[in-house]
């Protein structure tokens, strides 16, 4: 059918990173950019779910939940190493376009709540007033002295501009965060960013900067940061890399709107620190010093997020950029 084939020609990809397998994600991002595919920000708008690496059990469960949300025609691509990326993505349009195959695997029925909808923690009384199998939200005081509904919201691993494999369970009133618990879903062995070398260090900072700029809603500069990161990793000489990086750093640092949006949260200071770290790393490409180990970010995150609204919380998480 013409329309399905035309739609399958350039699908919309939703990339899911796995902690420890950042190399696969970088290769997948580069390939998606080369093919010119659209990048989806939610399962509903995606037609291809690309899992970069082999997820552990709990991350696999979250990915299956996201996969249920992807409407057909859809394709599920599992990448285990950077080498297989090009071949795997090449035959995605074919799988999307063959209608009989898609119809066989179409999702049936609507999402049901998980059987054991978490009972109220603590007092395990029978869930009074359950609605469609879900408990009514309990209420708690909020910062304006009103008792409002509290919603327990997992900021899942499948989210645009989100650290790979992180999950933050937040208790939210409206869009104000009451409390948060952060954890990595089955963090695996050595991290791709820990290997020594100034190029790797600069690329790590640029990757974090891309996420921060993406959360701040500046997609154009986020993509430019990713281009710089890939250029730094695949060995472009400093002569061409450094001017591009300084121009990028100056433009982002000088943006008054970005400062207006991020000051008061400590995010702007970390942004400037990362920009300086990137430019200094790119200035001395030969020194082998690896990325300094992050202080315990996951521990301090809940206290930073409490009382903030969702937009500020996302900025803080992107600025701190916890690593497993």
């Amino acid at each position: 059918m013409g329309l399905t084939a035309y739609a399958a020609g350039r699908p919309s990809a939703l990339l899911v990173g796995v902690p420890g397998a950042a190399a696969v994600r970088l290769a997948a991002e580069a390939e998606v950019r080369r093919l010119g595919w659209a990048s989806a920000s939610s399962p509903a708008s995606a037609s291809v779910l690309v899992v970069c690496g082999d997820p552990g059990p709990s991350l696999a469960a979250a990915i299956d939940a996201a996969w249920n949300g992807v409407p057909s025609p859809r394709a599920d691509v599992r990448l285990s190493s950077p080498g297989t990326v090009r071949a795997a993505l090449a035959d995605v349009p074919a799988t999307l376009a063959d209608l009989p195959g898609q119809r066989a695997s179409a999702v049936t029925g609507s999402w049901r709540p998980p059987a054991a909808a978490e009972p109220e923690h603590g007092h395990g009384h029978h869930m009074t007033g359950a609605v469609h199998g879900l408990a009514m939200a309990e209420r708690a005081d909020d910062r304006d002295g009103l008792k409002l509904d509290v919603l327990h919201l997992p900021f899942g691993p499948v989210l645009p501009y989100w650290p790979d494999g992180l999950q933050i369970r937040m208790a939210v009133q409206g869009d104000v965060v009451q409390s948060a618990e952060a954890a990595f879903l089955d963090p695996s062995g050595p991290d791709f960013w820990d290997e020594p070398g100034a190029r790797r260090r600069a690329a790590a900072h640029l990757d974090a900067l891309a996420r921060l700029l993406g959360v701040a809603g500046w997609r154009a500069q986020a993509e430019r940061a990713r281009l710089l990161r890939d250029a730094a990793l695949d060995g472009t000489p400093a002569a061409t890399l450094l001017p591009r990086a300084t121009r990028f750093a100056r433009r982002v640092a000088r943006s008054r709107t970005l400062r207006w949006m991020t000051d008061g949260l400590g995010v702007h200071a970390r942004l400037l620190a990362r920009l300086d770290a990137t430019t200094t790393a790119l200035a001395h490409l030969d020194d082998p010093e690896p990325l300094p180990p992050e202080p315990d970010v996951l521990g301090v995150l809940p206290s930073l997020l409490a009382g903030r609204d969702l937009a500020a919380a996302r900025l803080i998480v992107a600025a701190l950029d916890p690593r497993p």
Binding site: M1, L3, T4, Y6, A7, G9, R10, P11, S12, R33, G36, A38, S41, S42, A44, S45, S47, G69, P71, S72, P73, A106, V107, S110, W111, R112, P113, V131, H132, L151, L153, L159, P160, Y161, V172, G174, D175, L213, G214, V215, A216, G217, W218, R219, A220, Q221, A222, E223, R224, L227, S255, T257, L258, M261, D309, L310, A311, A312, R314, L315
Partner: protein, 305 residues
Amino acid sequence: MTPVWTVVALPVALGVLTLLAASGNAVLGAAASGAPAPLRHWDDPLRAAARALVQQRRRTFAADRLLSRVGVVTLPVAALLAAVVLPLGTRAVADWSVGVVWFNAMEVATWAAVWLTGWGPNSAYALVGGYRYLAQGLAYELPHMFALITVALGAGSLNVTRVADAQDGLWFGVWMPVAFAVYLVSALAMAFWGPLAHPVADDVASGAAVELDGPDRLVFAVGRYALLVVAAAAAVPFFLGGGAGPWLPAPVWTLVKTLVVLGALLWAGHRLPVLRMDRFLEFAWIVLIPASLLQMLVVALVVLD
């Protein structure tokens, strides 16, 4: 009575300009983010439309489908009804005596549209996106109304065609700069575009539009681009002297000016990060409202003597 051709010409012109805006934005976005060969992205909107049309519909849990449907359909309808009072050259489809107020009323309908789209699917991110648009509406609406009142005050009439004709001497955009700037900000806010795209921002996974799938996503996107086009097209009679201009006939000048304003709005979308609504609300109420009131005072004094 209005000639029949304008009634047909309006939706067609709006459709063509909407497609132009969408593909122009795709190319601009690719160029701004340094993607290889940005020009091949010209047909991204057509691909997205095809994807939306072949997509299977899903049901979110305990969703209010009626309200969600009403919200999604209201967007393009509001854009079309708002464009009804805009002159296509010299003739508007409906030359009402209260064109300016009607334009404002139809554009406020987007508040209901985005909130309903956010409320409908019973999803946390969508609801957050819907409420962000309410904060955005409360922020931009008052300065926007004062800007429109200033224009009507300067022209001495609420009829859009007469407002355009009243600028044959000097364009309002020239001697009402603050009102023009406030209008451009609210033009972005009307279509929740560029720096004012917080309701559908990436930090809540495209907020109000997170659960839209299939035709709903297509109608919502068409409505949003149509609103951007209508906001740009409305800047022409209000601030840029309507169809007036040397050499070319009126409709061509209207089209050229609309494309210039539309290009500026699209370009601004990729130049700035997204404004957070709590900070923009504070800025709007503390800076924009006094500025637009002062502008109205100046115009009133000029008009009186």
